[in-house]
Point group: C2
Chain length 249, copies 2
């Protein structure tokens, strides 16, 4: 039997956003590997072993997946959202580069998913409708000074911005500082969107301004989007729409 490894994205939560190609490889898999809550999104069945592991165990998890594939298993590594955006694909390639030379000969494929930033953007309109950047606000794997430098340059470039991992119990201070830096660079009237658990039963979306935003509006399930200078809000009877026009001066 010839093994393979597929690194796939399950999308933000709704089964209606899982692509058919991801559903198909999950049906062919002998092993599913990932962070426990994501592995639990794959229904158990005969012939499928589900290997759930903890957060921050990405490299060990990647090594396990590569080794299973080398032994002939059909292995799917699952991430939420898209596997290539702050998720398992980079971890698998880090492990591959540093590990067993035989792993390089494996049949490996990445299957994209609906990323949290695209789902969050869609939930309010089109705030990422023009040039934008995407920053992981966790300083677990990079210095805070680099995050702050990128925030200031992104504001100077007038990008819309999507932020992953804004705030956790272990990092309560960084997002407060992020809001301070952005208020200074972009002013208090700039639009900010807190999109939590989009496409799940717990979805909640809040549109406000940097002047009104407080750190407790975000947690680890929140995708935060900050508009550019051009980003506009359309009032209507229901929830407002937010979009960034296609043109800029």
């Amino acid at each position: 039997m010839s093994g393979w490894l597929k690194i796939v994205g399950l999308g933000p939560g709704s089964e209606a956003m899982v692509t058919p190609e991801v559903t198909a490889v999950l049906q062919e898999a002998t092993d599913v590997v990932g962070y426990v809550p994501y592995v639990n999104r794959v229904a158990p069945r005969a012939g499928l072993v589900r290997h759930g592991s903890d957060n921050r165990e990405e490299i060990r998890r990647a090594e396990q997946a590569l080794q299973l594939a080398l032994e002939g298993h059909r292995v799917v590594v699952v991430s939420s959202g898209d596997p290539g955006v702050f998720a398992m694909a980079a971890a698998v390639f880090e492990a591959l580069e540093a590990g067993d030379a035989q792993w390089r000969a494996l049949d490996i494929q990445v299957l994209p998913g609906i990323s949290a930033m695209l789902a969050a953007s869609a939930s309010v309109g089109a705030p990422l409708g023009h040039d934008f950047c995407c920053i992981n606000l966790s300083d677990n794997l990079k210095p805070w000074a680099l995050i702050e430098k990128r925030l200031r340059l992104a504001a100077e470039a007038d990008f819309a911005m999507a932020f992953y991992n804004p705030r956790s119990k272990a990092r309560p201070v960084g997002f407060e500082r992020t809001l301070e830096v952005l208020r200074e660079a972009c002013g208090p009237d700039r639009l900010i969107i807190f999109a939590r658990a989009v496409s799940t039963p717990e979805e909640s979306v809040l549109v406000t301004t940097l002047g009104e935003a407080t750190p407790d509006m975000a947690d680890m399930r929140t995708l935060v989007i900050v508009g550019s200078q051009q980003t506009r809000l359309i009032e209507r009877s229901g929830s407002p729409l937010v979009y960034t026009p296609r043109s800029a001066d």
Copy 2:
């Protein structure tokens, strides 16, 4: 009959990347509106009118879709990739804001799709695995000076970069200039990926360096990705893998 408007993404080309929720609304639609090649991706059937229009007619197309929904039609506006990334969602909201006040009361929803940048990234590994930006290189709707400013600031921030609309017959010079700016800012050894028509039968993917890159490697069907300083290439017997590690100094 109560009309509605859904602005959806068909993904980069493969039917296996169209989400189930998009497939479902296409089955309920009375009208599909979009650029001719994208409308042609929706199979004809009784009860469905397909309204194809030309490139650069986005606002007129958006107005048509809004008006049809107001008249009680079930309207799907289709984009390739994701509708919120340099596609029809922003155009619809521009038309909505400027147009008939009754349009604001419509039932409007954006359904995300697999964007070209996510599909391109997946095709080579995970080059967008860490902080990145996404820039439309067309200067049809913004001045070239703003594009160049964003390129320089993105290089200074050490973002990986994804570029849409790199080059067309009407704009042969901009991408040549883009490569010059990036060679100056990032050096000749920086990795660059030309991912053309990913997930279609015409797919071709080229991995090279800024020093070796030439403008004719891109056309309007090409998504270009430039790595950050951290982006790495893994050689192996087949095509190489490119990824950006999760950590940075």
